[in-house]
Symmetry: C2
Subunit: 342 residues, 2 copies
């Protein structure tokens, strides 16, 4: 489950998540264009993974420029990062990773070695993400009780990150620790990350998992069928307002109605220190054909309109705790989130 | 849009709603078995329509017995109704229609004319349903303002009823009355009644309609994108607790959070005078393959489990008003719902 992204002989290989769990095909990314395509078209998705892939994209971009022009200029990095920054607007890990790559670039004067130095930095980001996930998962697993039924939305698993996962990392760690848990995975329309990726990851891991349509959560809470909710995040504002896969907010409202703990598991790189609350988080709207077609076949008439927002904002009052590699964050979030950066 | 159910030469013809909006094929029902199949396998769906189809099923059952045995016995009606009652458990209109057919059967002593008398009673139920829908829609249209954006879930349209519709009837009447309205239709997984039926009905009618995945409602409410919600119902308890398509409850919670009016449009036959609250309403669980497959293709691995409840219960506190053919029902529902039966 951790071979979904690897670097080999100057190329980045990405498992095409659009074809999972049916086909395991890899996209070989030889240059910046391939990376831009992979992120935009959702060959890869998941906030932490997008950041990691973008970091490798910077390394590939630098490698290409050196190969074609024979030298690297100071502003080459900005042009590369600009292209990558335009791929997807909501997940902040993308911008965080680009910033880190820029800083690394500026540290080194030896431009001839830059491709290797940039690749090393991308690999460091990748490896650190896995370490962070393992750490936050250990912290998070303390919040899980033996016998819990846990609901999760979309995929915040190994496939959404460098490896191990955030929300699914917590579940993985609790399971590995011997806790008997059951997981309900919402299918997550329209891309079905829950049905295709989360259910598959957990099934392979031997965790008891069951898929439900996104519209089932209210009834399951009403029926006392959920003990805890854990989701990942794409961007978290300083006050704790959380952007995550569309549908997260409705789940949080249901959980709140029944006093079911609602946890958000994310590395510190998902917190945006430049944004005070969720109103400033840009929400991506994607092509409505992604809603209207499945397996290449239409679900309704071509003439009928549809709308697809990729994310929504869960106001901080509906979040019980954040789970990070630096520990569990309690309320008041405003106070403790700031401390993550100090 | 009203040719989806008709009686001709001793057969009931049903438009197969599973193939809509792509193919218009009819199932000719010559006997009771065909009707049982049509309801169970969702050739037809929608609480009022299920009641009407079951009524015709009684007529067909009686017709078959007279043809095969040469005479009708007093208890034949019970055996027929028992088979029909087992098709689907939640929509109360089914049991209401069967009760009405039994009462009609007992009124007549002339058993030789019984097939015609039963057919006439089924046609009466059918015609009255359309009249009731037109009447409740007129009442309901008074609740709609010019410029409203209205969210609806599943399909409570002409296709869910004898004709004209309940929730969509209200929208139809407001639109016909010159009010400029916009409709957001949730796609309604797994059967996609919203994307396939509701969007199609409204598109054909010239109403501005847009599909969203079920998980979008929270974000749309948060963004002030919804003025009113109108849904149908499958069974309403005496206190106002409402069974309707799975997902309705989550929508009601979102609407309540933003003080968006939440209307339930349903004929009096959808109110169950035998049930004090929603805890007594049986919720149908259907085959999980209906979640795991679409267009005959799997959405995930065969080995992965799924769950599919057809309906949920919206507690009465989240309903603003009921819209019936006898008028708009205000709170306290307990008091006014009882008056429907007096």
């Amino acid at each position: 489950m951790t071979d979904h992204i690897y670097w080999k002989d100057g190329s980045l290989y990405l498992l095409d998540q659009r074809a999972l769990p049916f086909k395991k095909t890899y996209l070989q990314c030889k240059g910046l264009k391939d990376i831009v395509y992979a992120i935009k078209s959702m060959v890869v998705r998941g906030a932490p993974l997008i950041g990691i892939v973008a970091a490798y994209g910077v390394a590939l971009g630098i490698q290409e420029i050196l190969a074609s022009k024979g030298r690297i200029k100071d502003d080459d990095i900005d042009k590369i990062c600009e292209k990558l920054a335009k791929t997807r607007p909501t997940a902040v890990n993308l911008f965080w990773a680009l910033e880190r790559m820029k800083n690394a670039f500026r540290q080194y004067s030896n431009k001839a070695d830059m491709p290797d130095l940039m690749t090393d930095e991308a690999i460091a980001i990748h490896v650190e993400d896995i370490e962070n996930n393992r750490m936050l998962s250990l912290y998070g697993s303390e919040l899980i009780d033996d016998g819990d039924t846990i609901l999760t939305h979309c995929n915040a698993g190994a496939l959404a990150t460098g490896g191990y996962g955030t929300a699914l990392g917590v579940i993985r760690a609790a399971h590995a620790g011997g806790k008997k848990i059951k997981v309900i995975a919402t299918e997550t329309r329209p891309y079905l990350q829950g049905a295709r990726l989360t259910a598959w990851e957990l099934y392979e891991e031997g965790v008891d998992v069951e898929i439900v349509p996104d519209n089932h959560v209210g009834f399951l809470c009403y029926n006392k069928g959920i003990d805890k909710v854990i989701v990942g995040a794409d961007r978290i504002a300083l006050n704790g307002d959380t952007a995550n896969k569309i549908g997260t907010y409705m789940i949080a409202l249901c959980a709140s109605r029944y006093k079911i703990p609602f946890f958000v598991a994310a590395p510190v790189s998902t917190f945006d220190r430049n944004i005070n609350n969720g109103a400033y988080i840009p929400i991506e709207e994607r092509d409505s054909r992604e809603v209207k077609y499945i397996h290449g076949k239409p679900l309704t008439l071509e003439a009928i309109k549809a709308r697809y927002y990729s994310f929504d904002i869960t106001p901080e009052r509906y979040v019980s705790n954040f789970i990070t590699e630096k520990g569990i964050i309690e309320k008041p979030f405003k106070k403790y989130i700031k401390m993550l950066f100090s």
